[in-house]
Amino acid sequence: MATVSLTPAKKAARSTVALKALMAVTGLIMLGYLIAHMYGNLKVFSGRASFDNYAHHLRDIGEPVLPHTGLLWIIRVVLLVSVILHAYAAIALWRRARVARGGTKRYVSPKARRGVQRSYASFTMRWGGVIIALFVIYHLLHLTANVIAPGGAAGSPYQRVVNGFQIWWVVLSYTIAMIAVGLHLRHGTWSALTTLGANTSAAARRRINALAYVVAAVITIGFLLPPFGILLGLVK
């Protein structure tokens, strides 16, 4: 490759580090969305009217500056672009890493397969990411399009949620997905902030890791409260 003639800025833009930064930024955008989404979901605990009003209100935020459902569509486009760029970068780096490490059978010795200090979450990023992507499709077909409607289809968002989560296997499928998300965010939050330059000392490292644990726990538990609340009959 004739990289000699490129300016430093162009070389930098084509690097694996820039690709990682793209992953970090798109990942953090999706994380920001997840926090808002989780907060919205918790409104099922304040009843049907509150939840359905909230779902409805999302469609007219920003009016009349934005058209009806305008903000919703902006969010959808930003998220779709983020998912695509994030997955593109993940796959590009995944393939590169597989070749670089010298294939799947790296060391014959079975004695240090789990590494020296690495976290369990760091093992789950790639296949966990695939599970999350598949889950997102399933989830949109379930609660957005309502094409998959276990427990019966419904016009009211509240009713869709309640119908679905009265069924144990629906709750189980969401539980598995949210554990995958939690693990992804445990390593992902840490990794994103480090990629963007925040790992500046041992103390910073401790703080970023603590933050990553909190983010992962809050998201996982926060998302799982409504399904379990419904399954256990606390929300009807």
Partner: protein, 248 residues
């Protein structure tokens, strides 16, 4: 003590390698790992066998030549160079697996010896300062803040052994590259080439076929010089900075 070694034997780059088992008797626990290999090699030579090829030079932990994967861990169970590892770190009767660094950009030349020329080419892409070096200037001629001097010095202790690559699940050489970038980019003499250095070295790192860093940290955990993890964030900052400031 008596031990059993399972060693990767590979006659040359073209031929497939395999693990071969050797018993080594009467090993002193005060021997270094390389001295133990020397003893085995003397015996193999006397028996008319091909001695096991491995890299080494200073044997005092400063040159970065030695380095093999012992029981799946680069440089073995202690965070030191292979030449500074002693047999007392192993139990009597142990079965010890010995393999070369594994990474696509580090092809095996023979047995435990790999070609680390990729590191030289990363250095050639920016790991230097383009000024004529005369005699050493007065130490206080150019003041450097203490924290920068300390960090630059820590980074400068990298001996380019390659253990970070051998440990990295992505086959990334980011810790090595970051050590070299941090060392020069923190010091006044490194400033004129700050952004061309980081962009050039990272581009060469990628060009050599090393993987991308995913901040897993196995590199710093095996690094015999304890190169700090934060050098990688330092490199990332400068690389992102060069997107804006590197237009010349």
């Amino acid at each position: 003590m008596n031990i059993t070694l399972r060693v990767w034997r590979q006659p040359n780059a073209e031929t497939e390698g395999r693990m071969v088992t050797y018993g080594v008797e009467n090993v002193s626990e005060h021997m270094s790992f390389l001295e133990m290999l020397d003893v085995l090699n003397e015996r193999l030579t006397l028996e008319g066998d091909d001695p096991i090829a491995f890299d080494h030079d200073c044997r005092e932990g400063i040159c970065g030549q030695c380095g093999v994967v012992i029981d799946g861990q680069p440089h073995g169970p202690l965070q030191t160079t292979t030449c500074q590892l002693h047999m007392r770190s192993f139990a009597d009767g142990a079965v010890i697996d010995v393999e070369p660094w594994r990474a696509e950009p580090f092809p095996v030349i023979k047995d435990l010896v790999v070609d680390r020329g990729a590191f030289d080419r990363i250095i050639q892409a920016g790991g230097y300062i383009s000024v004529p070096t005369g005699s050493a200037p007065d130490a206080h001629a150019t003041p450097v803040p203490k924290t920068d001097a300390d960090m630059a010095f820590d980074a400068a202790t990298c001996i380019a052994c390659g253990a970070c690559v051998a440990a990295c699940p992505n086959g990334s050489a980011m810790l090595f590259t970051a050590a070299k970038v941090t060392h020069l980019n923190l010091l006044p003499q490194g400033q004129p080439e700050r952004y061309s250095r980081v962009a050039g070295m990272v581009a060469q790192h990628d060009e050599e076929g090393f993987g991308g860093c995913t901040n897993i940290g196995e590199c710093t955990a095996v690094c015999p010089k304890g190169i700090p993890f934060e050098t990688i964030s330092f490199l990332n900052r400068d690389l992102l900075g060069s997107l804006i400031k590197g237009n010349r």
